[in-house]
């Protein structure tokens, strides 16, 4: 059996011991396609998760800036107010 990546995973899932001997069972093509699809979906989920993390980091950068600005306003010397 070829040691291709999908086939390897398929074999790991489908191989079984028969009287102590590991049988080399080729997984059905549908299973290979399923594993491939699952892998692709997993990679896409990774991209989405990192995208969401990036979004929150950008929000945090903005909030941090607003907080700093407010702190600067609070500590800035106030102009003397006249009576007018």
């Amino acid at each position: 059996m070829e040691t291709g990546f999908l086939r390897l995973i398929g074999a790991l899932l489908f191989a079984r011991l028969d009287g102590g001997v590991l049988l080399d069972v080729a997984p059905p093509p549908a299973v290979l396609a399923g594993i491939g699809g699952f892998l692709l979906a997993g990679l896409c989920v990774l991209v989405i998760v990192i995208g969401v993390v990036a979004f929150f980091v950008i929000r945090a950068v903005r909030k941090n800036r607003v907080a700093k600005e407010n702190a600067t306003k609070d500590t800035a010397p106030q102009e003397p107010r006249g009576n007018s």
Binding site: T3, G4, V53, V57, R62
Partner: protein
């Protein structure tokens, strides 16, 4: 920072960039050329590598921003690439480690290039440019079946030692982001849309003459020169002028003249002029987060490139689609740069050193 130190840093990181990309692609294609993996696995490996190498960069970028030790982090990335070459007999592991190593190196070098001269597009452009050359040469070596590990390992180790021995760059103090934060996310989003489309067009463009090695090399040099000169020209003549005029001309050349190598290569050169501008502008929008900003552009590139790996590639490869996509990219970049110039660009002494850039941006 002295000019000599600046030059030694940018040259070392740029050469290492070409080596890292070359080693990763040579390893990947050597695995495929070994014949142990069928076509379906080939696509899987390329996808796994690309997604890991590109999409994880924002996370590693945050790490670089926090640790502020880009040289050490870049060296770790190089060592992981060396490890991946040594693990070539275990293809999946080699591909995953190459992807992680590549991502870590990129953000380390990206952090340095963006901070050596803050608010400038020249150095990020020069740093990113050689990657395309390394990639093409690596693919050629890997595909030829003549991949030999030790020269790559030796060169990578030397580059890691050189980077660790470089004079430590003095990074400028973190700037305060001026302007109205109302447009903060809008600017970032528009810049990223422009990068997504660059990834999409770059991956979808069908150039039938690319199989000729000489023309492929010429195309690669157009990418390299476009990115390297893009930053230099943009800092001299204005970011908007160079990036937008380059994209506009490339829209016509890449859409209507793709079968003509000379015109398509010119179009590719012009198309890549905007890359350093989007990168430098994004980094300027996120002060103190240069590594993260660099990673964001990589994430945007892979988001754009993903449709080319799906059945949608028949749609995205069409001339009409390419033309419309570049037009959207122009509109996004125009909007992003206009808002950036109006609300966020620093008007301090850093940018008032007699360059024409600011005058052009203001006019």
């Amino acid at each position: 920072m002295s000019r000599k130190n600046l030059l030694s840093n940018i040259v070392a990181y740029s050469v290492a960039h070409a080596l890292v990309d070359g080693a990763c692609s040579a390893t990947l294609f050597a695995i495929i050329a070994s014949g142990r993996n069928d076509l379906q696995n080939l696509v899987q490996f390329v996808l796994i590598y690309d997604i890991i190498a590109f999409s994880t960069q924002p996370i590693f970028g945050l790490m670089v921003d926090a640790l502020k030790a880009p040289a050490q982090i870049a060296a770790v990335g190089i060592m992981l690439v060396v490890a991946s070459i040594l693990m070539i007999k275990v293809p999946l592991l080699a591909v995953v480690i190459a992807g992680i190593g590549n991502a870590i190196f990129h953000v380390g070098g990206g952090f340095v290039s963006l901070n050596l001269a803050r608010g400038k597009a020249t150095l990020p452009g020069i740093y990113v440019a050689p990657g395309a050359l390394g990639l093409t040469i690596g693919i050629m070596i890997g595909k030829s079946g003549g991949f030999v590990a030790w020269p790559f390992i030796l060169l990578l180790l030397v580059s890691a030692i050189l980077i660790l021995g470089l004079p430590k760059p003095e990074f400028p103090a973190q700037r305060r982001l001026p302007g109205n934060l109302r447009w903060f996310e809008t600017v970032i989003m528009l810049l990223l849309v422009s990068v997504v489309i660059r990834g999409l067009v770059g991956q979808s463009l069908v150039l039938p003459w690319k199989s000729d090695p000489a023309l492929l090399l010429a195309l690669t040099m157009a990418v390299v020169l476009g990115k390297a000169l893009g930053g230099i020209l943009a800092d001299r003549f204005g970011w908007s002028l160079v990036a937008l005029s380059g994209l506009t001309l490339s829209a016509f050349l890449l859409t209507f003249f793709a079968p003509d190598p000379a015109l398509a290569i010119t179009g590719t050169f012009l198309f890549n002029l905007s890359m350093p501008v989007t990168l430098a502008c994004l980094a300027d929008m996120l002060p103190g987060k240069s590594g993260f900003a660099f990673g964001l552009t990589a994430l945007a590139l892979i988001v754009g490139a993903l449709p080319a790996f799906t059945p949608f590639h028949t749609l995205t490869g069409g001339a009409g689609f390419i033309f419309a996509a570049i037009l959207v990219s122009i509109a996004a970049l125009y909007g992003g740069l206009r808002l950036y110039n109006g609300h966020f660009r620093e008007r301090g002494p850093v940018l008032r050193q007699g360059t024409r850039a600011e005058k052009n941006e203001r006019s």
